[in-house]
Structure formats: structure tokens, C-alpha cells
């Protein structure tokens, strides 16, 4: 009898605790109708902030930080903060980070995830919690067909980038023998498939490498024996830089081309000036250093460097969320609805952001650019034709 009494008392105590806790939590929830006066909202930034792939993502994080700093200065009391989630670009690390982002109720929107592989892990978690995201650089086409309502892409996908690379090889580089290599990642394989569709019979050989691979000797031999005059690499810088270096060391003199996964400063510095010279990368983004408005000057003043890849895109996408805050969209559901009807021009990129039902950017707004490595820098930005 005594025991039973103790149990009942214990049960009541736990109930009281839970209720108390819930009440306490409730107080922290942002007011839903306070408009721009709501303070302390957060925007998440999800991607590789350390590690080998960080070169592709940290400029974007700085862009987002700049947007928020400007917003806070213009709206005293808003105190919006950026919460970084460092996935190191890895799908393994993405799930716990996404869960943490979802658990913080003050996070109303997320810029990212930056890569396609981690998107496939993190986006279902975001979708379940109704936390809207806009990715600045995850370009695998199939991300739009997974039924994630929260998914928005701020750039063109590889269905536009891949064919553009194929056409570049055909029309600009005049390559009739192309060797395709990919890293078996969600992004790398997807991009390769699109390139292959355009090139057709011009493909003289294919090979797959793996993440963290360092020795490419047999691939180099295969490329040389295929007689290829151009090599396409679908993947990211950490493998592409040593691969290109070993290709050049092995006497390959033809064109080397890759997608936006190679468009970062590490590709230049790790490969080295002499070996990277003439390498071509494409990006569904324009040159960030030629962004519109005061963006370039402001970025340089705040961070002391020129804006890198996707800095301008992430800046504009962060501002989309901030406009939402300004318009009083302070819950995830309101923000999601806000994005659905959004139609506005980004001040840095000049792109009109308007999303289709599947989260893709309006096709009319997509543009693909090519850059050529020259004297240790990405030079000659050229917009590629759409067909």
C-alpha cells in the first residue's frame, strides 16, 4: 500500500514537472504577430565550415553574416543571429546537426545545406519539422523530387550546369575525345550523367574514384591511353586538386574541366599555379567579386578579403529570410508560406528570386558561368549559352 502511494506521488510529481517545463518553454516561443519588433530570431547556416571542403562554403557563411549585421544595424532591437552548423560536408554528421537545428525553435529558416549529399540526409529532418531552407549550392537535380515542401534552391541545378559543361567541351574547347571521372558522390555522379548525355560518342572512357583517394596513377594511365584531349571531373576539390596535379605530372596536356565543386581557392593553391593553369570550372553563379551594389566593398570592409564563391548568393538568400522577418513572418509555417509567394530581386546577384512549386528557382533566372584558372586566380568569367 505504502509503495503504491509512493508511486502515485511520484507520478504526480513528474506530471507537475512536465507541465512546468512545458509552461516554461512556452514563454520562450517567439510572438507570432509582433512584426519586426520580435527580437532574437535566428537563421541557421548549414554546411562545411571546417575541413577540406570548407573553401566552398565559408565565403557563403560570411555573406550571410554580412546580411544579418546590416539588418540588425538597420532594425535596432531585432537582434537576429546566425547559427552555424558545421557539417564538414559529410552526410554522417548532417543528421545530428539537422536535429539540433530543428530543436531550436527560434531558428525560422536555414541557408544550406551547401552540398547535395548532406542535403539528402538533412532535408527530410527539416521537412518533418517544417523548417524552410534555401540552399545556395546543393545542385543535384533529384533534390527537387523528394517531396520536401521546405526545399528551395537559390541557383540553377546540374540539369543546367551539366549540359553547359558538355556544350563548353564541344563548342569552345572543341574536344572530340573526352574522358569522364567522378567521385561517386550524389553531386559528382549526377553532374557526370548530364555531361555524358550531351557528349554522347565523344566520351572515350569513364572512371570512378572515391572520396579521400590520393593516388590516381592508374586513372592517369587510363586517361593517357584513351587518347583523350579533355578530362571532365565530377566532384570536389580535395580529390580534384591532386588528380589534376598527377595528370599534369603524367604528361596530360589537354583541357581539364569541372563543376562548381572545384570553384574555390583551394583548387588553385593545392594544385599549384603551374599545374592548374588553364583548368576550367563552371558555376550556376556569377563571379562574386563582380556582384552588384555595395556588396563587394562591404564584404571587403568586414572580412578583409574579396567575396569568394557563393558569398553573394548566400547574402541574397539570407536577406530573403530577413525580409520575411520584417514582414512579420516569425514562425516556420509563416516563413514557408512567405517563400512560396516571394518575388524579389537580390541586391548582390541581381537575380529575381521566385520559386516554383518543387522549390526550383524560376528557370528564366538560371545562368551558368565558366571561369578559367590564370596566374593562380579564377579569371575570364563568361556566361555560357543556355542551349
Amino acid at each position: 500500500m505504502r509503495q503504491r502511494l509512493a508511486r502515485v506521488l511520484g507520478g504526480v510529481a513528474i506530471l507537475a514537472l512536465v507541465a512546468g517545463g512545458a509552461a516554461a518553454c512556452k514563454k520562450e516561443e517567439p510572438a507570432t504577430n509582433g512584426g519586426s519588433t520580435v527580437s532574437g530570431l535566428k537563421i541557421g547556416f548549414f554546411g562545411a565550415l571546417t575541413g577540406d571542403a570548407a573553401g566552398l562554403v565559408t565565403p557563403g557563411k560570411n555573406g550571410a553574416e554580412l546580411a544579418i549585421a546590416e539588418y540588425n544595424a538597420a532594425n535596432p532591437g531585432a537582434n537576429v543571429t546566425l547559427v552555424p552548423f558545421d557539417s564538414q560536408g559529410s552526410g554522417d554528421k548532417a543528421a545530428p546537426l539537422a536535429t539540433a537545428a530543428v530543436a531550436d525553435e527560434k531558428i525560422i529558416g536555414v541557408v544550406g545545406p551547401a552540398f547535395s549529399g548532406e542535403s539528402e540526409v538533412a532535408n527530410p529532418i527539416f521537412d518533418k519539422a517544417g523548417l524552410p531552407i534555401i540552399t545556395q549550392s546543393a545542385t543535384r537535380p533529384s533534390l527537387n523530387s523528394k517531396g520536401w515542401k521546405i526545399f528551395h534552391r537559390g541557383v540553377g541545378n546540374d540539369l543546367s550546369q551539366g549540359p553547359a559543361i558538355g556544350r563548353y567541351l564541344k563548342d569552345v574547347a572543341k574536344a572530340d575525345k573526352v574522358y569522364l571521372v567522378d567521385d561517386q558522390s550524389a553531386y559528382g555522379t549526377g553532374l557526370r550523367d548530364e555531361v555524358e548525355k550531351i557528349l554522347g560518342a565523344a566520351v572515350v572512357g569513364k572512371n570512378k574514384v572515391t572520396e579521400k583517394q590520393v593516388e590516381f596513377g592508374p586513372v592517369v594511365t587510363a586517361v593517357k591511353n584513351s587518347g583523350a584531349t579533355a578530362v571532365f571531373y565530377g566532384g570536389y576539390t580535395p580529390e580534384a586538386a591532386p588528380f589534376l596535379k598527377q595528370l599534369r605530372a603524367g604528361g596530360f596536356k589537354g583541357t581539364f574541366i569541372g563543376g562548381d565543386g572545384l570553384y574555390d581557392a583551394n583548387m588553385l593553391s593545392v594544385t599549384g599555379k603551374a599545374d592548374v593553369e588553364g583548368a576550367v570550372v563552371t558555376c550556376p553563379c556569377g563571379p562574386a567579386t563582380a556582384a552588384k551594389g555595395n556588396f563587394v566593398a562591404d564584404f571587403k570592409a568586414k572580412f578583409g578579403t574579396d567575396p569568394g564563391v557563393y558569398a553573394d548568393v548566400a547574402y541574397d538568400l539570407t536577406k530573403v529570410f530577413l525580409e520575411g522577418f520584417k514582414a512579420g513572418k516569425t514562425t516556420r509555417a509563416d516563413m514557408q508560406a512567405f517563400l512560396g509567394t516571394y518575388n524579389g530581386v537580390g541586391t548582390a546577384t541581381g537575380v529575381t528570386y521566385k520559386w516554383e512549386a518543387n522549390g526550383e528557382l524560376d528557370p528564366a533566372q538560371v545562368s551558368i558561368w565558366a571561369f578559367v584558372a590564370k596566374d593562380g586566380a579564377w579569371a575570364n568569367p563568361t556566361q555560357l549559352p543556355k542551349s
Binding site: 583517394q213 596513377g217 592508374p218 594511365t221 596535379k245 599555379k273
Partner: protein
């Protein structure tokens, strides 16, 4: 399966395989030496190698050569390589001795069971890798191409580059020197004595502690040599390059017969060749699978490796 790639590229694949295998063999010797004497797998040896790659990178950096530099002329290149060989070997050797003094010697004094050494080794490996990771911000760092980039000779689809030749020649030379050291010198006799029977060797006046430190130093020196050639070949390094190299070199040591010096050489070269041919035949992404399947099959028929386990016995 792509027989065309294999047949067409056979000569080149052999050269790249031998060069890669020489590097495996040099690192494998470190595992084999320590195992021969202590019956211990020194898992931290992979990080000793990784520190060597950074020592080489920094040496060249201090001498004004980074990944953006143009290739120097032959004389300068040889000087750069020689200096980095000395610095990287000493640095790796030093790290190896520190690992021994910090991670193993205290345990040995307390007669800890073998399993504890294993944990200590894994711990040391993590600590070293993460230290370097934190210090270099986990960034991948480019390494300059030093030796001339023109082929040494090129005939009928067979091309040999200076770096490939240098790697194989230096690796073989170092290996013969080590073999001579262990079989002919007084220090070598001490190593063999401790390997055969540590207690009896101690009774005969061999300083066991010093012999063990010497063995770690030797392994470290060889890893340093391997690191220099690896750096030039791969053209980049980062804090986690030790992991895969350690795994491969350890496999090479087991393949040849762990504890057996000549076995490490044979195992390393064989692994390099198998990887190279396998990658051409099945695609580069299958490299590791093929290497380990071959390892398993060989060990099924020769459980103690190709040349058998022995350090200090006749074969070593």
C-alpha cells in the same frame, strides 16, 4: 572488366605500381621492426609518417618553395630533396621516439597486458592526427613538384619519370642499408637478440630499453624517407593522410610476413602492383577492395605471409 586498359597500360601501370609499392614498403618496415621486437602493432606509426609529410612541406616552404613555385633546375631540386630527406627523417624519427617514451614505455615498466598497448597505440594515433589537424586547421596543403617533369625516357607506351625512378632506387637502397644494419652491426645484433628472447638478451648485457628506442627511431627514419617521396608524388598532404597509408603499409607488412624485413619489401611492392593492375582492370574505385581480397586469399594459403614471420632468425 576492362582488359584493354590493363594490356595497353601495362608498362606504365607497372612503373606506377612499383613506385607506390616502394613507399608502402618503407612504411611497412616501421611496423615490421616494432612487431619483430615487441610483438606489438604500433598503430601510431601512420601518424609518424604523416608528420614526415608536413616536415617535408615546411622544409620546402622555408627554402622558398610552395605549391605555386615553378619547378627548380635539377641541382636545386636534388638539394631540396636531400635536405627534406634529412629533416623529415629526423622529425619522424623523433616523433616515433616520443610515442615510444610516452605511450609505450610507462606501460612496459608496469608489465601491462598486450591489449592495453593496443589501446594506447590507437590513442596515440588519434592524438597525433588531431594535433596536426588543429594546428593546420585541417586544410589540405599543396606540395610543389620538384624533380623535372619531363619523362626520363619514353618508348612504345612505356614512360618513366625521374620521380618514379628516384623513389624505387632510394627505397631499395635504404632497405639494403637497413638489412645490413640489422644483420651485420653490433646494434643490429642487439635488435635480433631482443627479438629472439628479450630476457636472455638482457642477461647477456643487452640494454633492452635502448634497443627498443632504437627500433622506433629506425622505423621513424624510414617513414620520413617514405613521406618525402609520397609528398612529391601525391602533390598534397593533410592531417589524415596517415590513416589509409598506415592501413596499406600494415597490410603490406602482413602480406610479406610481419616481423620479416625482406617480407616488408616484397609485400609492399606486391601490394603496389596489385593495386595498380586492379585499378586498371576494375576501375579506380575498386582499388582497395582488390588489394584486400588478394591479401585475404594469399593469407589463406600462407597464414604467416609470403616469407614467414621472423626477425632475428636466419631469414632476416
Amino acid at each position: 572488366m576492362n582488359f584493354d586498359d590493363l594490356i595497353q597500360g601495362f608498362p606504365d601501370l607497372t612503373t606506377t605500381g612499383l613506385a607506390q609499392g616502394s613507399i608502402y614498403a618503407l612504411v611497412a618496415l616501421g611496423y615490421t621492426l616494432v612487431y619483430g621486437v615487441l610483438r606489438l602493432i604500433n598503430f601510431a606509426h601512420s601518424e609518424v609518417f604523416m608528420f614526415g609529410t608536413f616536415a617535408a612541406l615546411w622544409t620546402w616552404g622555408l627554402m622558398g618553395y610552395d605549391s605555386n613555385s615553378a619547378r627548380p633546375d635539377l641541382g636545386t631540386a636534388l638539394l631540396l630533396v636531400l635536405v627534406s630527406l634529412v629533416v623529415a627523417s629526423l622529425f619522424s624519427g623523433g616523433v616515433a621516439m616520443v610515442v615510444e617514451a610516452v605511450a609505450y614505455r610507462p606501460l612496459r615498466k608496469r608489465n601491462a597486458p598486450p591489449l592495453v598497448f593496443l589501446i594506447s597505440a590507437i590513442g596515440a594515433s588519434f592524438v597525433l592526427a588531431e594535433l596536426m589537424g588543429a594546428f593546420t586547421e585541417r586544410r589540405q596543403q599543396g606540395i610543389p613538384g620538384l624533380l623535372p617533369g619531363e619523362p626520363l625516357f619514353s618508348a612504345g607506351g612505356w614512360t618513366v619519370y625521374p620521380l618514379q625512378l628516384a623513389t624505387v632506387v632510394v627505397a631499395l637502397a635504404v632497405m639494403f642499408a637497413l638489412d645490413w644494419f640489422v644483420s651485420k652491426t653490433r646494434f643490429g645484433r642487439g635488435i635480433r637478440a631482443v627479438a629472439q628472447d628479450a630476457d636472455t638478451a638482457a642477461l647477456m648485457g643487452v640494454n633492452k630499453g635502448r634497443v627498443i628506442a632504437l627500433v622506433f627511431l629506425l622505423g621513424g627514419l624510414l617513414a620520413g624517407v617514405a613521406a618525402v617521396f609520397y609528398s612529391m608524388k601525391q602533390g598534397n598532404t593533410r592531417f589524415n593522410v596517415g590513416f589509409l597509408m598506415g592501413l596499406k603499409a600494415f597490410s603490406a607488412a602482413v602480406l610479406g610476413g610481419i616481423g620479416n624485413l625482406r617480407g616488408a619489401l616484397v609485400g609492399g611492392l606486391l601490394l603496389g602492383l596489385v593495386e595498380s593492375y586492379g585499378a586498371a582492370l576494375f576501375g579506380s574505385n575498386w582499388t582497395n577492395v582488390i588489394a584486400f581480397v588478394v591479401l585475404l586469399v594469399l593469407l589463406m594459403f600462407r597464414p604467416t605471409g609470403l616469407l614467414g614471420e621472423s626477425l632475428g632468425r636466419a631469414r632476416a
